[in-house]
């Protein structure tokens, strides 16, 4: 238990987080962002993507690849921005 506690403390120290509460609060904000994004995507994309899937598989394949690449880059930017904000707060 002591070893696990040590690892957690080291981890938090490493990412320069003094308060666990602050970290959890920022994680909650991030989760709300992601949830909002998810419902937005679902609302606007769900049916259209299904229509493309039924109509033309080649177009669907290109669309699928483009969507996952764009989301990958977008979420990485969001996550990095969150980590920068956390570090800035601590400083």
């Amino acid at each position: 238990m002591g070893r696990v506690g040590g690892i957690v403390r080291n981890f938090l120290h490493k990412i320069k987080i003094v308060s666990i509460g602050s970290y959890l609060a920022d994680l909650a904000v991030y989760a709300i962002f992601v949830f909002g994004y998810f419902f937005l995507v679902r609302h606007f994309l769900g049916d259209q993507v299904k229509q493309v899937f039924d109509a033309n598989k080649k177009q669907y394949a290109i669309l699928a690849l483009a969507l996952i690449v764009v989301q990958g880059v977008f979420l990485e930017m969001l996550t990095s921005a969150m980590m920068r904000v956390l570090r800035h707060k601590v400083r």
Partner: protein, 334 residues
């Protein structure tokens, strides 16, 4: 939530949870995590052909960012990666064609599931054995060093001065030395003796001469696993790069990720054209993975290579357990 393309009903939090766990594993172990994500999707009631294609798609988004980071750290051997892409794409196509064949015979679920169980159990057993043997070897080396030190003291040698703190190696530096220790270090040397032309050199990976066919063979086998069982097949390719080709672990992780981006993108296209990808499921899973990957990457700094590999052992067993449970009971988690 209903996913119209695959015709499944799965709770989005379940998918985000899988993505989160797999993201941590990807950041920590340097693998895509399909050994866990695949069975978890299958257990949620998704048909196996969709499991394979959707998992590959989700891995593309996750690997792009990780590969970019490793490239910045100089951990990507571009030459090795590009050669591997050729072998992997050929292998992915063979694996995907086999899935199509099984779909026509209508026994795709049982064959892929049994294949999954077999591969997961084999990997778990192999890595467990290798890590355990390496730890034993390291322990013996430590004992020998201690005996040698005692012998030196018995010859009335003066006591060595205590090193001041600033002269001692940092924890990270000693861990770096331990990282690539393996009882199987002799295998790559034997493989490098296979000299079928053309021979190439890989300076970034520290390999002077290796047959092009060796690299293509290893990547082809990884590609077949990727196309047939889904995911990037990092659970096969990573051990192959380290134990068979002799690539240093950190370069193997970076190169594997670089290679996965290209081969998984191709896998996504080929599976999507065949109607095996539910992009909405992949997008939801990836939202969880983005957070998990950050945490996993930071955690690696606190463990050295052998212990990371040993910690990896139970994970494929969990994946195998999920598939066995679904096959035996027919129950699906939702």
């Amino acid at each position: 939530m209903d996913f119209l393309i695959s015709g499944t009903h799965i709770h989005p939090l379940y998918l985000m949870g899988i993505g989160f766990v797999v993201g941590i594993l990807g950041g920590f172990f340097g693998v895509g995590g399909s050994f866990l994500a695949g069975p978890a999707l299958f257990a949620a009631g998704m048909p196996m052909n969709f499991v394979v294609g959707t998992d590959l798609t989700h891995i593309v988004g996750k690997s792009i960012v990780a590969a970019k980071r490793h490239r910045a750290l100089g951990n990507v051997d571009i030459k090795l990666g590009m050669i591997m892409v050729a072998g992997t794409i050929a292998g992915v196509e063979v694996g995907a064609q086999f899935i199509e064949y099984l779909k026509r015979r209508a026994d795709v679920d049982i064959v892929v599931a049994v294949g999954f169980i077999f591969v997961l159990l084999a990997i778990s057993a192999f890595i467990g054995w290798e890590s355990w043997q390496t730890l034993k070897m390291l322990s013996k080396r430590g004992t020998r060093k201690a005996i040698a030190a005692v012998a030196a003291l018995n010859k009335n040698a003066p006591l060595p001065p205590r090193l001041p703190r600033y002269l001692k190696p940092n924890r990270g530096e000693t861990d770096q030395v331990k990282e690539d220790t393996s009882v199987l270090a002799h295998i790559p040397k034997q493989i490098h003796r296979f000299r079928l032309p053309p021979m190439i050199s890989l300076p970034v990976s520290g390999i002077e001469q290796i047959s092009l066919w060796t690299i293509l063979g290893v990547s082809f086998v990884g590609g077949v696993f990727s196309g047939f069982l889904g995911g990037g097949a990092g659970y096969v390719r990573m051990p192959a790069l380290v134990y068979l080709l002799g690539v240093p672990t950190h370069v193997a992780v970076g190169t594997d990720l670089f290679e996965i981006v290209i081969s998984a993108s191709y896998g996504t296209l080929t599976h999507a054209v065949k109607g095996n990808v539910d992009i909405m499921v992949a997008l939801v899973m990836h939202t969880g993975a983005a957070v998990g990957a950050q945490i996993g990457a930071t955690l690696t700094q606190y463990f050295h290579g052998t212990r990371i590999r040993l910690a990896f052992v139970p994970l494929p067993l969990i994946g195998a357990g999920l598939v066995i449970y679904s096959l035996m009971t027919g129950h699906h988690f939702k």
